[in-house]
């Protein structure tokens, strides 16, 4: 009797294997589905504007003339500026945690940094709206620039704060993995702490640090809520860092539910498609860097 039950169950082995393989394939289908959906939904816009969508700077929901350039510029400017602002601090933090700090302190601070990374974007936005914006406005008055408070600069600031933990933790991991004997060789030659960091540790950890930076860039590109809340929601070409603007993510967040015309909605989806493609490329670059690091 037990034997019958056992041999029945053996047949299920094949079924189970097919089932789990199927869910694996489902994952692939989901990603493909995301891409295809984006293309289909943005088709009216692709048909209407073609390739010039990428360099048209008009975005007019009234005349239904749409171009992605203001948002490409907004996204790239904020992301790059955020990187520039964050990297020195991230690098310093990584060196401090991976090399200088005593282990107990490093543990506590690392824990705190991870908590930072867990704060939802919308809460950063809330804080940015009520504390960062007035502060920026105050400085804008001082230097004689239109005191919006909102704008590209503020968005870059908050982005920098948000991507800092990601860049820092990746860089810290690589730095702490630098082999001891390499460092001791340098000290043995009479090098100071800083000289060892500069000439031995950093070059060794170079690709890991680069990977951390690219990872942070990827996050900055896709970041939506905090940016939406402080960037000022202006869908036109920004001309200075103090201008109100929109990024690719924020224009979608701001306008999607208001878009009444099909072509307007399709244009927004096309922006989403562009964002998707850009983040996939950045993701690929990160992978290549990581693979090259492993080969090293």
């Amino acid at each position: 009797m037990v034997e019958k039950k056992i041999s029945r169950q053996a047949k299920y082995d094949v079924i189970f294997r097919h089932l789990s393989t199927g869910t694996g394939i489902l994952i692939i289908l989901l990603v493909v589905g995301v891409f295809i959906t984006l293309v289909i939904e943005s088709w009216p816009s692709i048909k209407a504007f073609g390739l010039r969508f990428l360099w048209t700077s008009t975005w007019d929901p009234i005349t239904l003339e749409f171009g992605a350039l203001p948002f490409l510029v907004g996204t790239i400017l904020t992301s790059l500026l955020a990187l520039v602002m964050a990297v020195p601090f991230a690098l310093a933090g990584a060196i401090f945690l991976g090399e200088l700090a005593p282990p107990k302190i490093a543990q506590v601070i690392s824990f705190v940094i991870e908590l930072l990374a867990g704060i939802p974007s919308v809460i950063y936005g809330l804080w940015g709206l009520f504390y960062l914006v007035p502060t920026v406005r105050f400085f804008q008055l001082k230097i004689g620039v239109p005191p919006y408070g909102l704008g590209l600069f503020t968005a870059s600031l908050i982005l920098a704060l948000m991507i800092l933990p990601y860049a820092m933790s990746v860089a810290r991991d690589v730095i702490s993995l630098v082999p001891r004997d390499l460092k001791e060789a340098a000290y043995g030659l009479g090098a100071t702490r800083w000289e060892t960091i500069r000439h031995v540790i950093l070059p060794y950890a170079r690709s890991g640090i680069l990977a951390g930076i690219v990872l942070a860039l990827g996050r900055a590109l896709g970041e939506t809520m905090a940016v939406t809340m402080v960037i000022g929601n202006r869908s036109a070409m920004p001309h200075s860092i103090w201008d109100l603007a929109n990024t690719m993510a924020s224009v979608i967040a701001n306008e999607f539910t208001e878009a009444t015309e099909d072509v307007h909605l399709a244009a927004l989806v096309e922006i989403g498609l562009l964002l998707f493609i850009i983040t996939v490329i950045v993701n690929l670059i990160t992978r290549i860097i990581i693979v090259r690091t492993k080969v090293q």
Binding site: V2, E3, K5, I6, S7, Q9, A10
Partner: protein, 254 residues
């Protein structure tokens, strides 16, 4: 070598890992109710050989078996492998009680994992019987509901033996079962093996010559995938027919 009552009989057994032939044309009879030691230098195929006997070998990707293996009168290569493994139990080199189960549940694993429901009386009986056979009952009877991982190495291995015995196999395969244990635990298990052969036939892989000398009735000696000697242990050890057997026994290579 004429065996009166054979529990296993292989005919031209060959086992492959991909293109590599690990077991070459082995024909042998394993006697019933005896302890048969399988010995040989590292890489000679002794573990591969016993894994053919419970069809565990074919689970390795790229592995293959040809030839015939008779368990009593049935060729196990034609049977459902799962049913084969119910009749041929195995104990591994490292004790491996299931970490999420209690001692009680571990012994009954052969039933629980298959979803076979047992009445409490029946289950209790099986557990006590198996643990007694494995000489572990007195030590754990009061802590049956603790995790198996809290036991010592020797106790864990006896738990694994109990687990294998609970499903009433006809043969127990043992792959260097004492190599990870201290001498005292080793001795306990060796005594156990000698006791057990009255109810189950035992095939034990060992690289420990004194151990084989102590507990085995027959010895099969493998070299580079071939069975080069088989016979009563006393004969093989004192009067080996093959020069390579003699070299191994005198420690020229291991």
């Amino acid at each position: 070598m004429k065996i009166q009552h054979a529990i296993f009989r292989t005919e031209d057994l060959c086992a492959y890992y991909g293109d590599f032939m690990a077991i070459k044309h082995v024909t042998v009879s394993i006697p019933e109710h005896e302890v048969t030691a399988v010995m040989g230098p590292s890489g000679c195929g002794k573990t591969t050989f016993i894994r053919c006997l419970n069809r565990l070998h074919e689970l390795t990707p790229g592995a293959k078996i040809t030839g015939r293996v008779f368990l009593r009168e049935e060729d196990i290569l034609q049977l459902d492998p799962i049913l084969v493994r119910r009749r041929v139990g195995m104990v591994f080199q490292r004790p491996n009680p299931f970490p999420t189960m209690t001692i009680y549940e571990n012994v009954l694993a052969g039933f629980k994992l298959l979803g076979i429901r047992l009445k409490k009386k029946e289950a209790d009986r099986i557990v006590e019987e198996a643990l007694r056979k494995a000489a572990l009952w007195d030590e754990v009877k009061d802590v049956l509901h603790r995790r198996g991982t809290f036991l010592s190495g020797g106790q864990q291995q006896r738990l694994c033996i109990a687990r294998a015995l609970a499903v009433n196999p006809e043969v127990l395969l043992m792959d260097e079962p004492t190599s990870a244990l201290d001498p005292k635990a080793t001795l306990q298990i060796e005594n156990l093996i000698v006791e057990l052969k009255r109810t189950v036939s035992i095939v034990i892989v060992t690289h420990n010559m004194p151990q084989a000398g102590r507990i085995s009735d027959y010895t099969a000696f493998f070299y580079l995938g071939e069975l080069i000697e088989f016979g009563p242990t006393a004969e093989v050890f004192t009067n080996p027919k093959d020069p390579r057997t003699e070299e191994y026994l005198t420690g020229k290579f291991s």
